[in-house]
Amino acid sequence: MKVFGKILGRKGGKHRVWIVGGKMEKTIIDLKGKREDLSGRVHQLPCCVKHNGPATVSHYFKPKPSDGGDEGLPLQQAHFRGRLLQGTTLHLPHGYSGFVLAKTSPHKWQTSATFHDITYWNHHYAPSPNDDFSRAFHWLTLAQALHNPVTPEELASSSATL
């Protein structure tokens, strides 16, 4: 399930520009710039379409609300290349945004659009919180806990309990 050219980045002034990679090669990702909001239009399909570029998606891809789903997720269904897809829309957690990046030079990426939700689709089975894609979001909670600054008070209290 690779999401080509899309990354999830943290909002907030400090992180507007990301620098990835180490040593000699640095890649600069500019998260400012043009900001078309693609919310409601970002789909993660259970397949790889070997094509890069625009397509008349709204004329051909017509998701409809569907019944079912034991987990209380609002489900949708659609058809792609003859296959039945069942999907659900996940809203990105508070504090996160999705970015669509375009390469402007060998080590420079520009934001061409942002989004705040992703609709992911399974081939012929209903989405559930146990799907890999849903579970990948667990990392965001974990990452926050790992990377939040620790205050001297917290350190003191946890040392005391040890």
Binding site: P46, V49, R81, G82, H123
Partner: protein
């Protein structure tokens, strides 16, 4: 659609015929139709000039359908199977072939009519697949009914001929009144008959193929015919396609069924990595969630 009021004669032993229309076409719905009446009415039914719907002209079929709808001694029903459903079932991971879909549709009709309160004692039906096996399957599901499963049942038994008219007229009307899901410009409705050999169908398919979406959802993507049109469109690789799957399977007509995994050439290993991330080599938390570490773009 179909008869809704249970007639008085339904409590007497009844016979039913079942037939299909639109099994072969590459587009549009497949329709199963049934017609039933009291056993005592079968003789009269034989005089109603029902014949195998394929031998009748369209106007004659329409006329006969209207007549049988107003005939109080006859009941009928249809099951219209959407092309989206046909494609989806035949292309899902555990594929359901057209024979199985056909069997379920026919059995669904029998079930519906029985539940209405019609005393079915005999059912005549054209065979789909091996007649003996089909008969056994039907008799197992409905032990109280005597089944006659025969080739060309539609020309042998008037009750099946009637069912064939019900099915064929319903299929033709459904196609005629079909509302395309797609809203792109230049969508035409001149599908022709839908048979892969029909020149009008061929040119419609050629004019309506799409680089990304393949075809409008009216088309049965699981038909081998689609392969010919898909040669130069964008390749799509599915996560759900088994990597060790080889070759295309045959459907009952001996036609090759489309498997998108066969379009283009990639080795299994490369293909799986292309479609899915793995989290390979990382801590179990990431592996379980297939989270890869992206070190470069």
């Amino acid at each position: 659609m179909g008869s809704r009021i249970v007639p008085q004669w339904a409590s007497k032993p009844c016979a039913m015929g079942i037939d299909e229309a639109g099994r072969g076409p590459v587009l549009g719905p497949m329709v199963y139709g049934c017609l039933y009446c009291a056993q005592s009415y079968l003789k009269t039914l034989a005089t109603l000039s029902f014949a195998d719907s394929k031998t009748l002209k369209e106007e004659k079929r329409e006329e006969l359908f209207e007549t049988l709808k107003t005939n109080d001694s006859i009941g009928w029903d249809v099951d219209v199977i959407d092309p989206r459903e046909l494609s989806a079932k035949m292309l899902k991971k555990n594929k359901i072939n057209l024979n199985e879909i056909s069997h379920s549709s026919a059995m669904g009709l029998i079930d519906r009519v029985l539940k209405m309160g019609v005393l079915l004692t005999e059912v005549y039906i054209d065979t789909v697949g091996d007649a003996g096996k089909y008969e056994a399957k039907l008799s197992n599901t409905f032990p109280s009914i005597k089944f006659v499963v025969a080739k060309k049942a539609d020309s042998l038994y008037p009750v099946v001929s009637g069912a064939s008219i019900v099915a064929k007229v319903t299929r033709d009307r459904a196609l005629r009144e079909w509302v395309l899901d797609e809203t792109a410009e230049n969508m035409q409705r001149n599908f022709g008959s839908g048979y892969p050999g029909d020149p009008q169908t061929k040119s419609w398919l050629e004019n309506h193929k799409h680089h990304i979406f393949g075809f409008p959802t009216l088309v049965r993507f699981s038909w081998g015919t689609c392969n010919t049109y898909f040669k130069d469109i964008a390749e799509v690789l599915w996560e759900s396609d088994n990597l060790d799957e080889d070759g295309a399977s045959n459907n009952s007509n001996g036609k090759r069924q489309l498997k998108l995994s066969n379009v283009g050439f990639t080795t299994s290993k490369k293909r799986s990595e292309e479609i899915e991330s793995s989290g390979k080599g990382r801590c179990r938390f990431f592996q379980a969630r297939k989270l890869e570490h992206l070190t470069h773009f």
